[in-house]
Amino acid sequence: MLSRTADNLYWIARYMERADIAARLLEVGSRITLLPSAHGYRSEWDSLLQSSGTADGFARKYGDPVQRNLESWLFFDRDNPSSVASCITAARENGRIVRTALTSQVWDALNTAFQELRQLERTPRSELELSRLTDWVMRHAAMVRGAIDATLLRDDGYNFLNIGYYLERGDNTARLMDVKYYVLLPSLDLVGSGIDNYQWITLLRAMGAQRAFHWAYGGEVTAAKIADFLILNPQSPRAIITCVAGMNNHLGRLAKAYGRSTRAQAKAAAMLAELETTNVEAIFDEGLHEFLSRFIGESAELGTLIHEGYLSGDVR
Amino acid sequence: MRLSVDHVTKYSYDQPVRGVVQSHRLTPSAFEGQTVLDWQIEVSDGTPGGQFRDGAGDRIQSWSVQGPVTEITVRVRGTVETVDLAGMLKGHRETVKPEVYLRETKATWADPGLVALAAAVEGAANPLDAAHRLSGAVADAITYSPGVTEAQTTAAEALAQGAGVCQDHAHALIAVARHCDIPARYVSGYLCADAEGAPHEAAHAWAELFVPGLGWIGFDPANRCCPDARYIRLGSGLDAQDAAPIRGIARGPGAETMLVTVSVAPGQSRSSGEGPSSGQSQSQTQQ
């Protein structure tokens, strides 16, 4: 397939996943502000903005993290390339370009999300409850994902879409964890304190994994259990290992279909091998922040290799 | 006259580039005034592409360099036997109609200054006389002066300055000729320095005007003559850009610098086993 087409598909997935994350951030952020916190909600918001990589942009445009501004920034603001509106628009535009590589169901899902977004943008903000907005995003993200899974041919395009989804999701899980860990818990001693638990639970909620976590582990919430759940538990849909395994799977299918591997496959396999053989203790020994930073770096490197090996058009 | 050419163009990039594509018009034209004894074009890391003779009779050869590279050298070497045909392009096979060369381009647009200059044609005895008069008028109006004009300078600008190089002379002559409904075109080629060491460029350009009954005739206002045995003709076009011996594009963010050295000298065929050609040779360097 054309490299540019593969690139468009890959970015449809990344943008849809990113929109979903933006909505989750918005939800978890507003929840935090409703409750007391050790550092005040400003620092909570700041940490969330940092995880999305848009804290500077926000500060430049709005200054103080006021709830309404945050909603504008994370949902509607086109100056924020990671806002829901920016992501859905970009996903739909990528979809329009490769319209013929999609089924009508996938296109419908993308196009409907975009058309409804335009309606939302025209609706007075006073009529829009935050929960309605976040539910709306997650619903449409799920509809696009569902249409892809249910209707798309399992060809290379399908693999590029999935690679985009898993790469974006794994990266976001790591960033969310890193921000919570690094910003809110400067000292490991605080793990286990009441406040800390609350922060961690908020994190789980952001990933829509709170109930799943309790089913999987039960008992007291500990940093180790949460780290295991979000990094190493292959049952957890947003766990880093799940995302890396997903990339391995789809990169493997590409290698098989094309009859050759690239450096991306080797990189993804190495990342998976490490995750499969490590454990939480080893991660804490290395330092959670150090581990996450390293993963974020490796994930970016894998992204570069995928770009070079398939998407750049310079493939030989 | 036997002329040896050594023409090296070196492109340097401050960052590696990929997918370089070039289109060359670097082979001497086939006509009675010149016979190629040997001719060789090398492109560093290059893959030769399609080659063909275009409608104007020029031999076009394309090259590509996959890259990444930071430097590309195009080297042209060869020997041509020339005879003086007093500028006439005898025995040249081409299918483009002369009328096509009445079309205006940006570089050859006749502004009021050039229109005034074209008045030199008044009283001409015949079309050939008209062509000579125009060429003389251009030579009078623009003095040879390297460095005052650039590759993008138009005929009108050069005339306004009253100074320029061979490219400007050729553009100005083309502009006035077309204004008088005389088909005219830009010719790129080489010129061997003469014994007196008159100032001119080894990589040279002049104009051809179409004279009914005689066909295309070269005029070199820069040297106030018609091309003779010292000239090697490569190809033609509507203006300098259209007739460029090398056109190319590189993919990548790198900035390009170009270094050209050309030497044209009376000399032996390299195949005769002689070393570097002796005699006067002239080199020039442009940035």
Binding site: R4, F160 | D54, T95, Q241
Partner: protein
């Protein structure tokens, strides 16, 4: 509104007898040709539609109209026809009342269209070769060799099978039962064919009964025939099944939908300039599996943007080196660069002459009489008769830069007069044509509206025409301008089986 109009057979225009126009058949016309009714009776091709029309309840019609609109929007077929620009998300109104031709009527049109497409290609082969038609004095050299659209770069190169224009869109208008006129030729990249196909698709979905009752020749083979046409002009160097790609300016282009639609129907890649590159003797596309050679490029971009090395050095669009590959036989480009010289509005006047010169036949389809403003006599006549004439820019398109005399205000006419006087070379004038009408659904019910027709003739190893085309309709009462940017809509076009 009755006006001074032109119609062929003796029919038309006003105030003639005065001069250079006498031989152009200018007479007063009193009526438009209605394709459905003639002398109070229904013409045969519309016989079965009469009932359908009369018995359709208003609510049903509204429901169907809404359904059609929803279908178009859902498909995403939102573009401007004929490169008119404008909002890319705009929907062109679809009129459900079909336009119908009998098989016999079509047979004549088909002969005329194919004849014209052959002559246009013969002309291109000639003017990029020996130029016999110019030498014979049948067309002025200046018009050809100094034409903006004439490409010096392709002189002497004969494209595979000698075809320059592979898809010829010929715009036709009708003024009477037997009278068709060619308004203009489109030899480069005529657009709108996706409407022809989608209009039919939607009509068949909404009114299957109509298709059972009427024997309508299908058009859906167009994409396969187009693919076959393109494949038939693959370069000699191509061995095996040629790989075809459609080259689009990109997704911001107003006709992007059509480009992707055709690529999808033919099962070929849709590429932008950046997806292609030249290496060695060939052009390749950039794929996830590495370079894949491309043999035939159906380009939907202008000549100027094909290759920055050859045409526009300032443009980073296009594919550097593509023209060298083309000229050395490594790839075919459809239509051939330089094909536009055949559809220039000034060259148009000479097409009947081309038919005679190259084919030794009389033209089956007539031109509209045209006055060239660069000729003193013609200019004088045009300026005298401005309120009655249609004046067009030689290089204009899409109904812009155009004066429809009978519809223009005094001030508009005077403004245009100044423009013509300032640059007469740039204008041609034609009589205001009495475009035929067909029944059209309007707010009040059904009413006659003016239409034109663009069939798409395919030229490759063989010459091919699907029975149908794009009918454009001027939805505003009395309007003769069918361009979508000026209130035009589209209709399904039927050719009945005999």
């Amino acid at each position: 509104m009755r006006r001074a109009l032109f119609s062929p057979k003796g029919g038309c225009l006003t105030d003639l007898n005065k001069n250079p126009e006498q031989d152009r058949g200018v007479v007063q016309v009193t009526d438009y040709f209605n394709e459905m009714y003639q002398n109070g009776a229904v013409r045969p091709p519309y016989a079965r539609l009469e009932d359908w029309m009369r018995t359709m309840p208003a609510e049903f019609r509204q429901m169907k109209q809404a359904e059609a609109e929803a279908l178009f929007r859902r498909i995403g077929i939102t573009f401007a026809v004929y490169g008119e620009g404008g909002d890319p998300d705009r929907l062109i109104p679809f009129d459900m009342f079909p336009r119908v031709f009998t098989g016999q009527e079509w047979a004549k049109l088909e002969r005329g269209i194919k004849q014209r497409a052959r002559a246009l290609n013969a002309f291109l082969v000639d003017v990029y070769g020996r130029g016999e038609i110019v030498k014979a004095g049948r067309i002025p050299a200046r018009l050809v060799y100094q034409n903006e659209a004439y490409e010096k770069a392709v002189v002497g190169f004969v494209p595979p099978k000698g075809v320059y224009s592979h898809i010829v869109g010929i715009d036709l208008v009708r003024t009477g039962p037997e009278d068709f006129f060619v308004l203009e030729d489109n030899c480069r990249t005529p657009s709108g064919v996706s409407y022809m196909l989608e209009n039919r698709e939607i009509m068949m979905r909404m009114f299957p009964d109509l298709f059972r009752e009427n024997r309508i020749q299908p058009v859906d083979s167009y994409s396969e025939r187009l693919r076959r046409t393109l494949a038939s002009v693959a370069p000699a160097k191509c061995k095996g099944e040629p790989r075809i790609a459609i080259l689009t300016p990109g997704h911001f282009n107003s006709a992007y939908y059509e480009h992707s639609f055709l690529a999808d129907l033919m099962g070929v890649e849709l590429v932008e300039g950046q997806d292609l590159f030249v290496e060695g003797e060939y052009v390749y596309m950039r794929t996830t599996e590495g370079p894949k050679r491309v043999d035939v490029i159906y380009r939907r971009i202008d000549d100027a943007f094909i290759d920055p090395l050859c045409f526009r050095p300032d443009s980073m669009l296009g594919v550097p080196g593509l023209m060298d590959v083309y000229r050395s036989g490594g790839v075919s480009i459809c239509s051939a660069p330089g094909a536009g010289v055949a559809d220039d509005k000034a060259v148009y006047t000479f097409v009947p002459e081309m038919v005679r010169f190259y084919l030794g036949e009389e033209p089956i389809l007539n031109n509209v009489p045209t006055w060239q403003c660069n000729k003193a006599d013609d200019l004088k006549y045009v300026l005298d008769k401005l309120p009655e004439l249609v004046v067009k820019e030689v290089h204009g398109s899409g109904g812009y830069g155009m004066l429809v005399g009978p519809k223009a205000s005094k001030a508009e006419i005077e403004t245009f007069r100044a423009k013509i006087e300032a640059d007469p070379d740039n204008y041609i004038a034609q009589p205001t044509l009495a475009l035929s009408t067909t029944p059209t659904f309007v707010a009040e019910g059904i009413a006659p509206r003016h239409v034109d027709l663009r069939p798409y003739c395919l030229v490759g190893e063989q010459i091919d025409l699907v029975p149908g085309g794009l009918t454009r309709v001027a939805l505003t009462e009395g309007s003769l301008v069918v361009n979508s940017s000026q209130g035009g809509g589209v209709k399904d076009t039927w050719v009945l089986a005999e």
